[in-house]
């Protein structure tokens, strides 16, 4: 941060006789800390640890602050003050974005190795964040001023810039996978800025997923199946490894909504084939998401209803794709996922969310009106395991249906 140098006429500024010496002053903010009854404790993405109390310092620390709308932020700030003839105290005040200001306070100066330190103690802002609305400050700027003559005249001190998130309501309580991650606040408040209704928040948060590029707060891609065999299945895993299965993207979208205090039950939908026997035996238990190439029908005679057969030994899902010993059907680029043009697409189940009657598939950025709509628009085949080490497939989608198992995230 630039060191603010000012050459002041101390005599004038301190109200002393004009024959007094000139003094030069320098003042720099060294630390800023936000607080308040409406503050939300943020977690860093990687391990979910809570950020410390300091939000800004002059050596590069930058941690966002988060508050619930309608609350007042409080700020405390530390400064280093250099002058050749320092008074015992000065007065500090701050002017924030949207006229959210911090009142003047007299603070003592303490000598510290040739300079003086002082602290603006935590003080609530002059007004609250607009109640009932999401907001996103990037930046929230505080222009600090000091006075050497008890507020008669004011001088520029320093300017600090901060990222501040404001949620519409208090976030829903944290649970096993739902945490107040930095990226969750960033994506939710950035997208839903200005919104006040549940439907508006849901709609705007959904906008994060429709271009199939979801980035964390650092700008790193969050991948849907960066590796075909990722076993990360919860939001903490997505936040840390940025490579995860469907559940995590459903949880991420639901989290962007929940962090705004939007309450919905039965919003988390697990879909899987209905446990129906195939005409050849076995239970239909797999589906293929588009696109797959259908070649030879190895079992056209033995199982005409599920004529395509792939075989495998051991672990056939590798980081780079499926490794079948023999394959009548093969994966092609089809429906793109988040940050991935060809994600894994051979599944027993899939996880999506449902808000107000609409199915949202955050993995692909697609919405569906019904389970049948999912089958029709997104699937290429059903699969059944007739013997160990193999799967048979049919492109006749009438052979099976999806069921949904609903819970609340």
């Amino acid at each position: 941060m630039k060191f603010m140098h000012r050459l002041f006429l101390c005599a004038l500024l301190a109200g002393q006789d004009l024959s007094a010496q000139d003094f030069s002053y320098a003042v720099r903010a060294t630390q800023v800390q936000f607080s308040g009854a409406g503050s939300i404790a943020l977690r860093e993405d990687s391990l979910g640890s809570l950020y410390g109390p300091v939000h800004w310092n002059n050596t590069g620390l930058r941690v966002p602050a988060a508050f619930v709308s309608g609350s007042r932020m409080a700020v405390s700030a530390a400064f280093v003050f250099r002058c050749s003839k320092a008074p015992d105290s000065i007065v500090l005040r701050g002017f924030g974005t949207d006229t959210i200001d911090f009142p003047a306070q007299t603070v003592a100066l303490f000598p510290a190795g040739g300079v003086y330190t002082c602290t603006y103690p935590a003080r609530a802002a002059s007004k609250a964040f607009r109640a009932g609305f999401v907001d996103y400050y990037a930046p929230f700027t505080i222009r600090w001023e000091l006075s050497l003559d008890k507020g008669a005249r004011w001088l520029a001190a320093d300017t600090t810039k901060h990222k501040v998130y404001v949620t519409r309501n208090s976030p829903m309580p944290e649970l096993t996978a739902f945490k107040y991650y930095h990226t969750v606040l960033e994506l939710s408040c950035k997208n839903a800025k200005g919104e006040s209704t549940d439907t508006g928040i849901i709609s705007k948060c959904w906008g994060e997923f429709t271009d199939q590029v979801v980035l964390n707060h650092k700008g790193d891609s969050l991948h849907y199946y960066k590796t075909f065999n990722t076993s990360n299945t919860s939001l903490p895993g997505l936040m840390r490894y940025r490579n995860a299965q469907c559940y995590t993207f459903a949880q991420l979208f639901a989290s962007l909504v929940k962090i705004q205090g939007v309450s919905r039950t039965n919003n988390y939908v697990y879909i899987t084939p209905q446990s129906k026997s195939s005409p050849c035996g076995g239970t239909i238990n797999r589906f293929l998401v588009r696109n797959w190439n259908f070649g030879v029908k190895s079992d056209a005679v033995s199982c005409p209803s599920f004529p395509y057969r792939n075989t495998y030994t051991g672990t056939y899902i590798t980081p780079s794709g499926y490794v079948f010993t023999s394959a009548d059907v093969s994966d092609r680029i089809g429906v793109s996922g988040q940050c991935n043009k060809n994600p894994s697409s051979f599944f027993n189940n899939h996880q999506i969310t449902k808000f107000d009657g609409v199915y949202y598939d955050a993995c692909y950025g697609m919405k569906f009106s019904s389970l049948a709509d999912i089958k029709t628009r997104a699937f290429d085949a059903w699969g059944v395991q007739l013997s160990p080490g193999s799967y048979n497939f049919t492109s006749d989608m009438s052979q099976g249906d999806l069921i949904e198992i609903i819970s609340t995230f």
Partner: protein, 276 residues
């Protein structure tokens, strides 16, 4: 605390809290068996040793089975009889079928040094383990009501396989024998908000122990359940199921951890026997 460290070393590294003993310790033919779960990978590690030996001397083996961690926490469901592990592989994974989650695994295949497979490899192996039976209790429950609320379940091996599952305050017990499922109870109302465990002692029938230690006994003739003991435990409990002496005990998990060096045999005097 030392047991914490030992279990952590045995189970491998984890982002999450140190692994806890899953649901119960089984004693059979003078050996103890218990599982821990790596919360990040969802995969299980089997710990086993002589009942007279120290818990921190347990031999540990990764086994292709596991369970997810959700808000409605349901620990690993398993039972051991001889070399056979009967369990429910409830790993959350897009390739793991809940309908095929009931597994029967020969522990002799796994109680030996393994090559360095990744956790992703282990997960895939778990999906392909031999299916004990189709998960009809789950399927029937979903068909009755597909909205999960306080859904918990457990599976034990008695003369037959017995599975109990509850959802939305209704519990049902099933038996699998001769290749088919038979309901042992009508759906009975229960107020479970945490997981329960199925227990059975030879000749004494089937009972359910809830999170507080209350015991409910199944009357197989009428298909009804009645509470036979009130419990008031306020800390997580671990069962000690002693098949050698046909007894079942409960002990606070933290007491087992704190004991560290005690053997299972030494722990039993500190446990409360479930009598029914």
């Amino acid at each position: 605390m030392i047991l914490y460290l030992v279990l952590a070393l045995c189970a491998g590294s984890s982002l999450y809290a140190q692994p806890a003993i899953e649901r119960k310790i089984i004693i059979e033919h003078g050996q103890f068996y218990f599982f821990t779960i790596d919360e990040e990978t969802q995969l299980a590690t089997l710990h086993t040793g002589a009942v007279t030996g120290k818990l921190n001397r347990a031999r540990s083996y990764p086994v292709p089975i596991g369970r997810e961690r959700t808000d409605a926490f349901n620990p690993l469901c398993f039972d051991i009889s001889g070399n056979t592990l009967t369990g429910i592989n409830w790993i959350l994974n897009s390739n793991n079928s809940r309908y095929e989650a009931l597994k029967q695994i020969d522990l002799r295949d796994w109680k030996k040094p393994r090559q360095d497979w990744t956790s992703e490899d282990w997960a895939q192996l778990s999906f392909d383990q031999p299916v004990l039976a189709p998960n009809v209790p789950w399927q029937e429950m979903i068909e009755a009501n597909n909205v999960l609320d306080n859904c918990f379940f457990d599976l034990v091996q008695i003369e037959s396989k017995v599975m109990a599952i509850c959802n939305q305050g209704r519990l049902r017990i099933w038996s699998f024998a001769g290749g088919k499922w038979t309901p042992l109870s009508k759906p009975v109302p229960v107020g479970f908000t945490t997981y329960f465990s199925l227990v059975s002692v030879k000749g004494a029938g089937i009972a359910v122990i809830d999170g507080k230690g209350s015991v409910y006994r199944l009357d197989e003739a009428s298909g009804t359940m009645s509470k036979v003991k009130n419990g008031n435990a306020d800390r997580p409990q671990v069962l000690i199921v002693d098949y050698d002496n046909y007894k079942t005990y409960t002990l606070p998990e933290e007491a087992i951890r704190a004991s560290g060096f005690l053997s299972v045999k030494e722990l039993i005097p500190h446990a409360e026997e479930i009598v029914f």
